[in-house]
């Protein structure tokens, strides 16, 4: 394995072109390949004793989170730190958002610090676009409502590629509450982009038509290479919502139990999971599970995204980071 070196002077963002990562729709197949390759080279750096790279020294990454998050916020923060960027974490609770400040004004305020990247998570679709329209920083959508979560889709592609060595022709069954899932929306688009097959499986009230082929029968996961399990959001069972009669009925019909996982099938979950509801703990903790691989992938993929947005892209990757 060769040394990881950074070529100075090559970190100037392309002029006249502001790039954001707002939606998987903004990505081409080439973008995806470049990001996955960059992430792979960063994964090498993460195996070293000294994990920090000087690549984004002096850059400022602001994490603006209007929703609670463990994985996404921690991995963006760590990704920025591993690249030596300064980070500033702003959470809606305890900030001026509590006092009724609008998303536009919060964006203008934070932009006064000249951040290079604003990572935003928000409960409403299009929030990242609103931020992008009001800042000179590059914007990464870390989840907007039920709309998009593009870095999750990228880390899932990374996990699939590392596990299977390919993306083309993989068959993925996404199981559970698709209606309320930004993860599913981004992932369906991403899988389509790279040539994988998708089927959506779950209760008729929680799986919309028009995104991908749909089945309400859990038996239809049998042909999949990967069972991608979505979180069953408990608030969907509130009185008046009634998307499913009970969590127990959901678990019995669509829960992923050891009996429902065939030999050779792998299981993924974007977290946080409800053990015993959508995913049996025996499956979650089994060798079939790729869940911790996904979390590890999250770090290097987010490093790649930050790096990609702030540098020229693939050529710089090869020269900046030698890969074994």
């Amino acid at each position: 394995m060769s040394d990881l070196r950074v070529v100075p002077g090559d970190l100037v963002p392309p002029r006249g072109q502001r790039r954001h990562l707002l939606s998987v729709e903004d990505l081409t197949r080439d973008d995806v390949e470049r990001l996955l390759a960059t992430a792979r080279s960063f994964s090498v750096s993460q195996e070293r004793e000294t994990k920090k790279l000087p690549t984004l020294r002096g850059r400022l990454v602001i994490n603006l989170f209007y929703e609670s998050s463990t994985r996404t916020s921690s991995s963006f923060e760590l990704a920025a730190k591993r690249l030596s960027a300064d980070t500033l974490n702003v959470k809606s609770a305890g900030s001026s958002v509590d006092k009724g400040e609008s998303l536009k004004d919060t964006t203008l305020t934070l932009s006064s610090y000249d951040p290079d990247v604003i990572v935003v998570r928000h409960p409403e679709a299009g929030a990242a676009n609103v931020v992008a329209n009001n800042t000179r920083a590059r914007v990464v959508n870390a989840g907007d409502g039920k709309h998009q979560h593009p870095t999750q889709a990228l880390l899932d592609l990374y996990t699939l590629r590392e596990t299977f060595g390919r993306l083309d022709g993989l068959h993925i069954a996404i199981v559970g509450d698709v209606v309320h899932s930004r993860v599913a929306r981004s992932l369906v688009q991403a899988l389509e982009l790279v040539g994988s097959d998708v089927i959506l499986v779950g209760p008729p009230t929680l799986v919309p038509n028009g995104l991908a082929p749909v089945s309400h029968d859990i038996a239809s996961i049998a042909d999949a290479d990967v069972i991608y399990v979505l979180r069953m959001q408990k608030e969907r069972m509130l009185p008046g919502a009634s998307f499913v009669p009970s969590l127990g009925e959901y678990a019995a019909r669509w829960g992923i139990t050891p009996e429902r996982v065939g030999a050779g099938q792998r299981v993924m979950h974007p977290g946080p999971m409800n053990r015993g509801v959508e995913l049996d703990p025996r499956v979650a903790d089994s060798p079939a599970s790729l869940i911790t691989d996904q979390v590890r992938a999250g770090l290097v993929v987010r490093m790649a995204v930050l790096y990609d947005l702030l540098t020229a892209g693939p050529v710089a990757v090869e020269t900046a980071v030698g890969v074994a």
């Binding site: 998303l103 536009k104 409403e124 679709a125 676009n129 409502g145 899932s181 929306r185 038509n209 995104l211």
Partner: protein
Amino acid sequence: MLAGPVGRENIVVRGARVVDPLERVDAIVDVRIDNGVIAQIGELLDTNEHRVVDAAGQTLVPAFVDPHVHLRTPGREDEETIATGTAAAAAGGYCAILAMPNTEPVVDDPEIVRGLRTRAEAEARIPVGFFAAITKGQAGEELAALGSLADAGAVGFTDDGHPVVAAGVMRRALQYNAITGRTIAVHCEEQTLTRGGHAHAGAVAAELGIGGWPSLGESLMVARDIDLAADTGQSVHLMHLSARESVDHLRRGRDAGVCVTGEASPHHLCLTDDAIRTLNPNFKMNPPLRTEDDRAALVEGLRDGTISAVATDHAPHALEEKETTFESAPFGVVGLETAFSALYTYLVEPGILPLETVLERMSAGPAVIFGLDRPRIAVGAPANLTLLDLSGSWRVRADRLRSRSQNSWLLGERLNGRVCLTIAAGRVAFE
């Protein structure tokens, strides 16, 4: 029933193509207006001391009537006032508009109606009719004082913004309204189906992850209200229709002899839910933009007369309310200044609808529904005239709109067909 300025101007409009489909006029002639009333129509009329408007190459039509405008007065004068809303209407070629009562406070008291009419006499650029609420506070429970409200000058009744949820209350309102001679207009929404909905419940909303507002949320209530109109023998007007199923119900009801009418808005006639992919809050309306099939049904309904009125549902919103995410932004767009040009550009020029149909549905159609005199180009009629430059084009710019709000779905777009002059109730209201 209208309140506002009346003029006694003396004008000769010279050399325009004069088109009034209902009067069977389509000729290049002069129109002379004496004391605000059309006095003569013919070739090379004497001008006397009259002001002469040289209108060669332009088209003179009956001015427009908008049955569905939010003037936001009283309560939200930061978004629109009687003065700015009627100035916008005049610029859009309108000679009369009807204002919705979902203000703060709600127009459910005769004193409020009288107050608004007095203000309109002083401030309005063109005549305004004020709707009053069907139920007190638009709460859907107790009937508002329909009789006294009509006596105070209410032009009709509606709980717009809300449906009258209880069928029993709606039935009582229709029965009792027989004493007023006014029309009840309904906002059709079955809220247990639309709660949490921000866009048409179709493929686009599914893809974007936006809560769905299904067609059934409208058509179910349309069917109910048509049945209630049939049951009571009273008339009902269905506002801002958006779904094919609603148009089908309306057509069946009319064919069966029920006194039911309907209106559609330029944005529903011109756009589909494809437009919301940008998540631009200026494409968020209630009811939402729907599919191409729904749009085609509305256009066909307008063409065959099932839908007899174009209504803008002009809904001004403050900039800060729309400068946010699609889901948190309020429903509604402004439309008075762009209605004709939008329909001309999207539907008339491409040959989808005849000009005459659009003119009739924007003028006589809505007037007749609400018992107003229809604007017409005939000797003895008050001058309610709009002069159009059909070969002219213009760009919709926020800083040029006369409305106090700029939440237009057409910002930045170039439209064909321009309003050059509006004469409302015998007075030049816009030029």
